[in-house]
């Protein structure tokens, strides 16, 4: 199993993996997962995959509650977390006009989502603080639609 890359043994806490050989329980992939609620589908990769991520909303120990926001993915360079950009318009009363503003959000990206690239639209849900700046967890990814003639995209 290539998911044991850390110095400590990675496993889901709470599921016992060593029943005796004589016992009849023969689940090949003893995995625990949950439904996050609010109508979000749990990805197949979360149920069938082998990754261990305690901060994943489906196979980890975080719950989604509070705000649900959407934004555009800006960078995927961090380990298991991404930066999401949320744009909004701010009204300036003096000129009766709007100005563009944006805020960047750090969100945890579960290994259940494969192939997320900058430009994708992403739905994130609030959870407890996972690190200094991460308080959100990615729940749904929509690929960016290529408008107009197809540009070269890396495979």
């Amino acid at each position: 199993m290539s998911e044991q890359v850390e110095k400590a043994f990675q496993k889901q806490v709470g599921i016992f993996q060593n029943p005796k050989a004589s016992k009849k329980v023969k689940a090949k992939n003893l995995r625990w997962y949950k439904d996050v609620g609010l109508g979000f589908k749990t990805p197949k990769e979360a149920i069938e995959g082998h990754y261990i991520d305690k901060k994943c909303p489906w196979t980890g120990e975080v719950s989604i509650r509070g705000r649900i926001l959407t934004g555009v993915v800006v960078s995927v360079k961090m380990k298991r977390t991404i930066i999401v950009r949320r744009e909004y318009l701010h009204y300036v009363t003096k000129y009766n006009r709007y100005e563009k503003r944006h805020k960047n959000l750090a969100a945890h990206l579960s290994p259940a989502f494969v192939g997320v690239s900058p430009g994708d639209i992403v739905t994130v849900g609030q959870c407890r603080p996972l690190s200094k700046t991460v308080r959100f967890n990615v729940l749904k990814v929509q690929k960016r639609i290529q408008k107009g003639p197809k540009q070269f995209a890396k495979f």
Partner: protein, 205 residues
Amino acid sequence: MGISRDSRHKRSHTGAKRAQYRKKRKFELGRQAGNTKLGPKRIHEVRVRGGNRKFRALRLDSGNFSWGSESITKKTRIIAVVYNASNNELVRTNTLVKGAIIQIDATPFRQWFEAHYAQPLGRRKKKEGQAESEELSKKRSKHVQRKIDSRKEDAKVDPLLDDQFTTGRLYAIIRSRPGQIGRADGYILEGKELEFYVRKIKSKK
């Protein structure tokens, strides 16, 4: 001293340096680490927020360890700390922390096994003429003998574990927090986890 757990002294998400606008508060306090070592039991009690208590174990020598696949738990002596994923210094100084891999005394588990299954566990190849242990050869009532016969097929033990029983020391992992609750409890490593840690320990040596 003055260990505090606030985030007001850290830079913000954008990188801006935050100005200090208030002093440290008591609810943000942190305390010195316990660094529980091996030795005769020494536990200090700490009064914490809300009037509750924490038991800071400074020295421990035994803990309650469970054998998962047999579903039993026995109180055993802790012998040594063997591996720590975070810090090798903690191994060298035999510091007990949650997640540390340790060696524990195997005798309570062996005694239970031999009483429960009436089969030898971790015995070296006997020479001719050496008597079997009292546990194995004692006379049992018919009722008890029937129970033992029905358990016969469950009495298989993983070879890796069996080797550990011959040396009298089992690998276990601490799952409680000795500096918070004053105890070092955990479970015996088995299966994939055991292989993983045995490999790590070997590659260290």
